[in-house]
């Protein structure tokens, strides 16, 4: 459906994306994930046709689209700040693209009403000026405006970043449901790993303009391909050489001593696992505890490492700082780079 082939994007002397190769399937919810300035928005804007690559080609539906004007690519875009036209009403905003295409008035009204219903905008809201709407409602208008032209691809540039946490979670689900319902190929840009993991079919993790790994959310999280992906996605414990040495001595023979080792917080247990297990016990001292409601995070000093562990609420008596603790670690959970 979409293919970036050896795409290089530069701004004067500065190369933002050196060599991008990426394939996105039809109907897929594909996320470009990475920290600020990593090139993910540049990649999206290049796909939208706002930036012309200095080298390489972009294919849409098997056809070269590299130098095709953005309006001819059949892409709809939702901008980070929504980019709603402040001098127009909600209805006029949504109908803008139809008006450009000289769609008949009656048909325009019908299409606007249809899409408004899909994104849950009421007729009263359609009559309002965009400035009278809340952030969440404005975001729906931006989505409706992008979708009313029935594009083959929907591009979303951090569309939830301006919303409060609760609304973000709510809209995340609605957006995913809408995408599934319409079956539209969607490319989503975010720096929020949780957003990427919960919404995407596949994720490309960007770092300094380079794609570090492409995979499903599970692959990205559990089988991080590079050290950057491993540390960027989710919280991690970095294990000291002494801890690795202890694990190797007590049965973790598969672990390499010379590599950098990481362990996810939820892979550390403070209670002896039941039944047959490869978990290795390490002794330590509780250095601190932070309470998060549904769980607590304990920091245990052990063999030169401060190892954090997640304990669900109700998962045993709270340990006090300074008290002795036992850590149980399965060496196969350790990621090494």
């Amino acid at each position: 459906m979409i293919r970036f082939e050896n795409v290089e994007v530069s701004f004067g002397e500065k190369i933002a994306i050196p060599d991008l190769n990426l394939e996105i399937e039809q109907g897929e919810f594909f996320t470009l994930l990475g920290p600020s300035g990593c090139g993910k928005t540049t990649a999206l804007r290049t796909l939208a046709g706002f930036i012309e690559p200095s080298r390489g080609e972009i294919y849409i539906d098997g056809k070269v689209a590299t130098r095709l004007p953005s309006e001819k690519r059949s892409v709809g875009m939702v901008f980070q700040n929504y980019a709603l036209f402040p001098s127009m009403s909600v209805r006029e905003n949504i109908a803008f693209g139809l008006r450009v295409r000289k769609t008949r008035k009656a048909e325009t009204a019908l299409l606007v009403d249809e899409i408004a219903a899909q994104v849950e905008l009421t007729s009263e809201q359609l009559a309002k000026n965009v400035s009278e709407l809340s952030g969440g409602q404005q975001q729906r208008v931006a989505i409706a405006r992008a979708l009313v032209l029935k594009p083959r691809i929907l591009l979303l540039d951090e569309p939830l970043s301006n919303l409060d946490a609760k609304l973000r979670v709510q809209l995340r689900e609605q957006l995913k449901n809408l995408q599934r319902e319409l079956g539209i190929t969607t490319v989503y840009v975010t720096h929020d790993q949780e957003e990427a993991l919960t919404m995407s079919d596949r994720i490309a993790v960007f770092n300094h303009g380079v794609v570090e790994q492409v995979g499903t959310p599970e692959e990205i999280y559990n089988r991080s391909g590079t050290e950057f992906v491993c540390t960027f996605v989710g919280a991690m414990n970095r294990l000291s050489g002494d801890v690795v040495h202890q694990l190797r001595q007590r049965g973790g023979t598969g672990l390499a001593a010379a590599k950098t080792s990481y362990l996810r917080l939820e892979k550390v247990s403070l209670h002896a696992p039941t039944g047959a297990t490869a978990a290795i016990r390490l002794d330590g001292v509780v250095a601190g505890r932070s309470y998060h409601g549904s769980h607590s995070t304990y920091t245990i000093d052990s063999h030169g490492s401060s190892i954090r562990a997640l304990v669900p609420e109700g998962g045993g008596c709270p340990l006090e700082p300074g008290s002795a603790a036992q850590l149980y670690i399965d060496p196969s959970s350790v990621l090494q780079y």
Binding site: E71, M77, Q80, F96, G97, V100
Partner: protein, 581 residues
């Protein structure tokens, strides 16, 4: 702003047309006339010559005018700062009773200035002025020309030029972080110590900027020296006007204009350098709005109050008298004694009932309206192209369009007169000097930099994503401009049009060089009314013109600043901050 190669820029027919028209305008009206002025000064017969300089050095009047101009500029740099800073402090910094009323009194110069103000003072304090006549009824030995020469010019220009302080210094003062004042007070600093050590140093860059502007105003002063300077105190600008009237001394006029232009360029360059060195209003991430300071010393407080109200009377009296005199019979003004029977509506009836009398007013309104509409309409396209395409061609074009900002209006006017007094191929072989169009062209030229700068800023303030959104929805650049961008910058464009209209309405500097004898603009008519002894009737007419101008200008200022200002006040009040204006 986006970078774009100029090859890609010229793909659009819209950009090509705008660029070609702009290049023609710049070459024909900005570069060529001023280059022609330099050539006629230093290369009169095709060879470099010091003849104009020799003439200047040997002309006592010309050399005196140079000395007078610099003396006036230097004096104003001091007097305007003293009065201007005092005004800003009493209206915006100290807790003074009736500060809002005081501000309105001081702000009267926002709605009347230039030739109108000079003529107003002349009609009140001048040789035939009401106050002079009234005082001479009691003390006949008083010199009727007491309000004339250097003293009168300095007084009038000092009062007229404090508007820069009110607008710019007042705004800078509001940006000072109040927490710095609280911190100083917390460490035991007194009110005066805070003013000298915290507030004024923070305002230093802006004080420097307004000083430069004041100096430039003094240097290029035309109307005040012309109306009130008398024979003994003439400055560069009136001399340029005098010398330009004779073909034999035009090179001298051109040289004086060049000197004025050079001085302006040097001073503006200095100002730019100081601006670049940085301003230091606040380094706080969350600045606290300034709160008014009480003057703790009772005597100092009383003295400041008295001084503030005396200054208010000085500012407000001419305005009140002008309004009053516009309803008086001419004879009453002349004799200096007023009775109830002298009040009349005849002056207004004459202005509105006599086409020949109303004509200068209509001419000025038409010129100002046309020039404002043309310059805003044209710059709308130019600023769009300059804002969207950034490359060496557009950068050069932008610099060239700022030429009128660094050249005094009289230099521009003189250059136009001297360039288009013969058929010129760049304007289709036409002679423009002496036609009605040259003044319109001059008005458009002088308003280009201000209009361009503000419109470009307005375009730049529109988020780029709006254009991207329109583009991805299939809108072309013209459709996007028409339907998305123009509606957004329309309020700014309307405000610029109104401000341009206001400032051109009573223009004298360009009009006196370029007006068509059959279409005398208001500035020229008002100046004419101040000449000679038999000006009694025209004096009354001028009072009516002035009142009408003040109404129009006051209304425009309210439309541009007033309504926005009141909503800002409401917002600030809601936020619990202290404001005065």
């Amino acid at each position: 702003m986006r970078n774009s190669s100029w090859a890609s820029m010229f793909r659009s027919p819209f950009v090509v047309i705008v660029s070609l028209v702009t290049l023609w305008f710049v070459a024909t009206f900005l570069v060529f006339p001023n280059a022609n002025l330099l050539i006629s000064t230093f290369l009169p017969q095709g060879q470099f010559s010091f003849r104009a300089i020799d003439k200047l050095v040997s002309s006592e009047r010309a050399m005196n005018s140079l000395w007078h101009s610099f003396a006036l500029a230097a004096t104003l740099a001091v007097t305007v700062n003293v009065v201007g800073i005092f005004i800003v402090l009493v209206t915006d910094y100290f807790k003074i009773r009736g500060a809002r009323m005081l501000w309105l009194g001081y702000a009267t110069t926002l709605i009347y200035g230039g030739i109108v103000l000079a003529a107003g003072y002349n009609f009140i304090y001048g040789r035939y002025g009401f106050v002079t006549n009234a005082v001479r009824n009691w003390f006949p030995e008083i010199d009727p020309n007491w309000f004339s020469g250097y003293f009168a010019v300095v007084v009038v220009m000092t009062l007229a030029t404090t508007t820069n302080h009110m607008l710019f210094l007042g705004s800078s003062l509001a940006k000072i972080d109040y927490q710095t004042i609280e911190a100083a007070r917390n460490m035991g600093a007194s009110t005066m110590s805070i003013l000298w050590r915290i507030v004024l140093p923070a305002l230093r860059p802006m004080i420097f900027a307004v000083t430069v502007l004041t100096f430039l105003t003094g240097l290029g002063a035309l109307t005040a020296p012309l109306v009130l300077g008398g024979t003994d105190f003439q400055t560069i600008a009136p001399m340029i006007l005098t010398f330009s009237k004779s073909t034999g001394s035009r090179d001298l006029a051109a040289l004086l204009a060049v000197i004025l232009g050079l001085a302006t360029i040097v001073l503006l360059a200095m100002m730019n350098r100081v601006e670049k060195s940085g301003v230091y209003f606040s380094v706080a991430k969350v600045a606290t709005p300034l709160q008014k300071q009480r003057i703790p010393n009772r005597f100092a407080n009383a003295a400041v109050h008295v001084a503030a109200y005396v200054l208010f009377v000085v500012y407000a009296t001419p305005v009140l008298l002008i309004v009053l005199f516009s309803f008086l019979q001419s004879s009453a003004i002349l004799t200096g004694s007023i009775t109830w029977g002298d009040f009349t509506l005849d002056n207004y009836a004459t202005v509105f009932g006599t086409p020949a009398v109303l004509r200068p007013f209509v001419v000025s309104v038409v010129y100002s309206a046309l020039a404002s509409a043309i310059v805003v309409g044209g710059m709308l396209f130019v600023s769009r192209v300059l804002q969207k395409h950034r490359n060496p061609v557009t950068t050069m074009l932008e610099y060239l369009l700022h030429i009128p900002w660094i050249l005094p209006t009289i230099l521009i006017a003189l250059a136009l007169v001297m360039t288009f007094d013969r058929p010129n191929a760049m304007v289709g072989g036409q002679v423009l000097t002496g036609t009605t169009s040259l003044l319109l062209i001059a008005y458009v030229i002088v308003k280009v930099p201000f209009t361009l700068r503000l419109l470009k800023a307005a375009f730049a303030s529109v988020p780029e994503s709006l254009e991207d959104a329109a583009r991805i929805l299939g809108a072309g650049s013209m459709f996007t401009l028409r339907k998305v961008l123009v509606p957004l910058i329309l309020p700014t464009a309307a405000a610029i049009t109104a401000l341009n209209f206001n400032s051109l309405l009573d223009d004298y500097d360009a009009a006196v060089f370029l007006y068509h004898p059959l279409y005398q603009p208001l500035g020229v008519a008002i100046k004419a009314s101040t000449e000679g002894e038999n000006n009694v009737d025209s004096m009354s007419i001028t009072f009516v013109y002035t009142v009408l101008l003040m109404i129009i200008m006051g209304f425009t200022m309210y439309l541009v600043y007033g309504r926005g200002g009141s909503s800002t006040r409401r917002r600030k009040r809601r936020a619990g901050t202290v404001t005065v204006k």
